[in-house]
């Protein structure tokens, strides 16, 4: 196949950035999308042109590092698939493909398609954990957990933290990401001890990072490579209301997280 790529090129954080046209020849349908870019990069290097920079690592859809918007869709149009697992058999000879970075105020672009997602780490630091220290944990079977709860918790825990939900949302909201972590713990008895504090602290940090709010576009659910449902956001909102009632939001939440 021959493809015409329109790729976002940006030298650094301060550069303005622009779409550049790059031809991709000799594309095999067996290639993954990133392998196609590897081949393009080899071409560019041979011509003395700086290769296209993009984040990636595991290339098996689990580390959450790969991140690009393809033809306007985060991770491309294949449902439940990260871009590293997207294969060229879904494209046609002669296609024009637009490749852009995640775009959100909270994710500054560092170079080409590489963005800074450390805001997500900071949300996790605010409350994405159960406060247990190493050692002294009770036997793993001490608290029976209904299978259904464990499964629901796992559905939420499947989040790979890639940030596609943010990139897809017109408000650049991180609600699905936060909701997944809040829900994972809210479904488990171990997580309920700190449930109010957790949701308050994480939401406060999310707001502080400049992510937008959810206005029910469901774009996040549509692009999530792990198909985490937007109903998790409803669950998080319930958790948040609970916390409001107990007045653990705002300042007191922060002091817990930093304590």
């Amino acid at each position: 196949m021959k493809l015409t790529l329109h790729v976002w090129r940006q030298k650094s954080r301060d550069d303005k950035g622009r779409l550049e046209i790059i031809e991709a020849n000799n594309v095999s349908t067996h290639m993954s999308f990133l392998e196609m870019l590897d081949v393009v990069n080899e071409d560019l290097i041979a011509k003395g042109i700086d290769p296209i920079h993009f984040d990636h690592d595991c290339r098996e859809g689990i580390c959450g590092m790969c991140s690009m918007v393809i033809n306007g869709v985060a991770h491309g149009h294949q449902k439940g698939t990260t871009v590293c697992q997207l294969h060229m058999r879904y494209f046609n000879d002669g296609d024009h493909i637009f490749i852009e970075p995640w775009r959100a105020k909270a994710f500054p672009i560092l170079k080409d398609l590489v963005v800074d997602r450390s805001a997500l780490d900071r949300i996790m630091r605010a409350g994405g954990f159960i406060s247990v220290r190493t050692g002294g944990a009770p036997d793993g079977n001490a608290i029976p957990i209904p299978k259904d709860d464990a499964e629901k918790s796992m559905d939420a825990a499947a989040c790979i933290g890639c940030g596609a939900c943010v990139a897809a949302c017109p408000n650049a909201s991180a609600m699905l990401f936060v909701a997944a972590k809040v829900s994972q713990f809210a479904y488990l008895p171990q997580g309920r001890v700190e449930r109010e504090k957790r949701v308050s602290a994480m939401v406060a940090q999310m707001d502080a990072e400049g992510f937008g709010s959810c206005t029910n576009h469901y774009e996040c659910e549509a692009v999530c490579p792990k198909e985490i449902p937007a109903s998790m956001i409803a669950k998080m909102n319930r958790e948040y209301c609970r916390a409001l009632k107990k007045e653990t939001c705002g300042e007191s939440a922060k002091s817990w997280a930093g304590a």
Binding site: D116, L120, M124, R125, A126, K147, M154, Y187
Partner: protein, 637 residues
């Protein structure tokens, strides 16, 4: 050089308890006076960083990814072993210990493995408390599955994403400590060198992968938890960024490299399709619980697998190893697949594949149950190959996956360079010549949660009071060298891309130091590797500058170290005139084609000392003594 393994005396089962009591303690108020650097944020690194910070130490943690949550432990699928005996099927600490020693083909250190089995149960408890959503039974108790090399069900799992869930557990503990200010986290930071002052590891040189700035950090002890080196083969199941640099640089600073030739080729990976291939994808070994492996009985049979009748199929693992069948250990399963394909029975376009067939399991328990067990793996297979494994058998082929070799460590997980500790896949200690499935996660977390928090205290209590800072001449020197190396790579401006040279190296390593090795092949590799290394230093091209995000430069630095390390790996493989576990020397096999160990001459750990550029490394031997196990020819028949 005298290698002191520091294995405590006394009966095997009491060693660890006794040792903990004998280790020096640092009182809680004094711990904050000590600083520790942790490189790597996978299971071993994240659990160590979090646990040490909880104890009160000042921790700095470095990872090359954009977040510590992305370390490659995340990709482990199948599960984690623990001697809980929840299934009432006869498991025990001793059995897990025994299986691991036997699985490692009697080439691991007995006391370390016993300790690993001992702490395994506490890992599960810890992870459950952190909110890891392990699979459960309807009664609410934890579920188990079986794994290769064991006849009991002791593997805990979170669907096919066990590594991810355990890592997110460790990451959450780490995040909590970062939030509390006890861990300083450095993302997108790559270690370029180790700094040794007066014989003790005192810090590291790091490149900030965004600004390109090279700087150094000092501490009272250094922990490397930087994973394995399977990417020396270029194609492996490792993440693209996984590399040998941290441990190889430490090796050049004096740390002994142990058993570099012990590499694991995983039997169930998706076959290669073309030379643009950038990595190989593993399908969890847990699939072998329900899938049956076979090839057609006729060579070059190109029929649709579903139309090949039962009596024209060779279920070769079941035939050759009736007791373990499809659950034979990894090294044996991989080699059998290679044999079948080399003999012309392979399937798929390239002939490099065997079938993994679930038809019987579908008939026995139904597709829904299988989908619940492995649904995400089936989907992944379909995404990559475009074939539906519910209707056509999967095609699989072995691929480099894990490396048992690593830096030599004593019982305290400290290398021969005082202060330098090595955890997880980066050390050599627990898996001998072959690792059993679901044991990597166990070891990473055992090292990080339950071993290093005790043992590092002893080192710090004895030696932590000597403080150095980064103004020291050794730091200045190491930093200047790292800067020079970077400049040199940028200045070559040759014709070859980094990847093209890496592929060439990978090809040589796979061909001559892969699943089967022989003297002639290894000698060829030892001739080819320096040529490729020369080519790299003369003809590589790295565009851009050092003062920006520069992926080619990052890759070039890693490849430069692989190009030296590869030689050490082949040297070790050539030196070990026996077959054991993942190291199969074709000259040494039983009449049935099984690995033929030589306990008389090779029951030792090969520990290689760096002797300077161009000089042959020197071999030191740590003899392996087995007090409670009788060395036996491994049999899974």
């Amino acid at each position: 050089m005298k290698l002191e393994s520091k294995v405590p005396s006394g009966p095997l089962a009491d060693k660890w308890d006794k040792h903990i009591f004998d280790l020096k303690l640092i009182n809680p108020a004094n711990k904050r006076k000590y600083s520790v650097i942790v490189v790597g944020s996978g299971l071993a690194g994240a659990s160590a960083a979090a646990s040490l910070a909880e104890l009160g130490y000042n921790v700095s943690c470095f990872c090359y990814q954009d977040s510590p949550r992305r370390a490659h432990s995340i990709a482990a699928q199948g599960g984690i072993n623990a001697a809980k005996n929840y299934q009432n099927d006869g498991d025990s600490v001793y059995r897990l210990f025994y299986d691991t020693i036997k699985g490692g083909d009697f080439r691991s250190r007995e006391a370390n493995v016993y300790r690993l089995a001992q702490v395994s149960a506490a890992i599960i408890d810890q992870c459950v408390a952190q909110g890891v959503p392990f699979g459960r039974e309807y009664g609410g108790l934890l579920a188990n599955r079986s794994f290769g090399g064991a006849q009991v069900s002791r593997t805990f799992y979170a669907r096919g994403q066990t590594g991810q869930q355990l890592l997110l557990g460790a990451y959450s503990a780490l995040s909590r400590q970062i939030g509390l200010g006890t861990v300083k986290m450095y993302n997108r930071s790559e270690m370029l060198d180790l700094v040794v002052v007066d014989g003790h590891a005192k810090g590291i040189v790091v490149r900030d992968m965004i600004s390109g700035k090279i700087s150094s950090y000092a501490a009272d002890a250094v922990i490397l938890a930087t994973g394995g080196y399977a990417n020396v083969f270029y194609l492996s199941t490792n993440a693209k960024g996984c590399n040998v640099t941290a441990i190889y640089r430490a090796h050049k600073k004096g740390a002994l490299f142990a058993n570099p030739c012990y590499t694991q080729i995983h039997p169930t990976c998706i076959p290669v399709t073309g030379d643009y291939q950038s990595k190989l994808t593993l399908m969890s070994e847990s699939l072998r619980n329900d899938g049956r492996i076979w090839v057609p009985k006729t060579k070059g049979d190109k029929r649709n697998p579903n139309s090949i009748p039962e009596n024209e199929r060779d279920y070769y693992l079941e035939r050759k190893y009736p007791a373990y069948g499809n659950l034979a250990p990894r090294d044996i399963s991989s080699r059998s697949a290679k044999e079948a394909c080399d003999a012309g029975y392979g399937v798929g376009e390239t002939g490099k594949g065997v079938y993994l067939d679930f038809t019987d399991a579908f008939n026995r328990v139904g597709k829904a149950v299988i989908a619940e067990r492995y649904g995400n793996l089936f989907e992944m297979y379909e995404r990559i190959t475009g074939e539906d494994p519910y209707s056509v058998p999967m095609r699989i082929y072995p691929a480099p996956h894990y490396t048992m070799g690593g830096l030599w460590v004593d019982y305290n997980l400290m290398s021969n360079v005082p202060g330098l500790h090595v955890l997880g896949e980066a050390n050599f200690s627990d898996h001998g010549a072959n690792r059993l499935g679901a044991s990597a996660l166990m070891q990473g977390l055992a090292d990080g949660y339950f071993v290093i928090p005790y043992t590092i205290g002893d080192y710090l209590a004895n030696h932590g009071k000597v403080k150095v800072n980064t103004d020291h001449a050794e730091f200045r020197k190491a930093e200047a060298e790292a800067v020079d190396r970077t400049k040199k790579m940028l200045s070559i401006k040759g014709k070859r891309s980094v990847d093209s040279i890496h592929k060439e190296l990978g090809h040589v390593m796979w061909e001559y130091c892969g699943m089967g090795r022989n003297e002639a092949g290894l000698k060829t590799a030892l001739k080819r590797i320096p040529e490729i290394r020369d080519e790299f230093w003369k003809n590589v091209t790295v565009l851009g500058s050092g003062e920006e995000i520069n992926h080619s430069l990052e890759k070039a630095g890693r490849l430069a170290d692989f190009l030296e390390f590869a030689e050490l790996m082949c040297t070790d493989a050539l030196n070990r005139n026996e077959s054991c576990g993942g190291h199969f020397r074709e000259e040494y096999q039983t009449p049935e084609g099984e690995a033929q160990r030589n306990d008389q001459d090779y029951c030792f750990v090969s520990c290689w000392e760096y002797k300077g550029p161009g000089a042959a490394p020197e071999l030191h031997k740590e003899p392996l003594t087995f007090e409670s196990i009788h060395l036996a020819q491994r049999s899974y028949k």
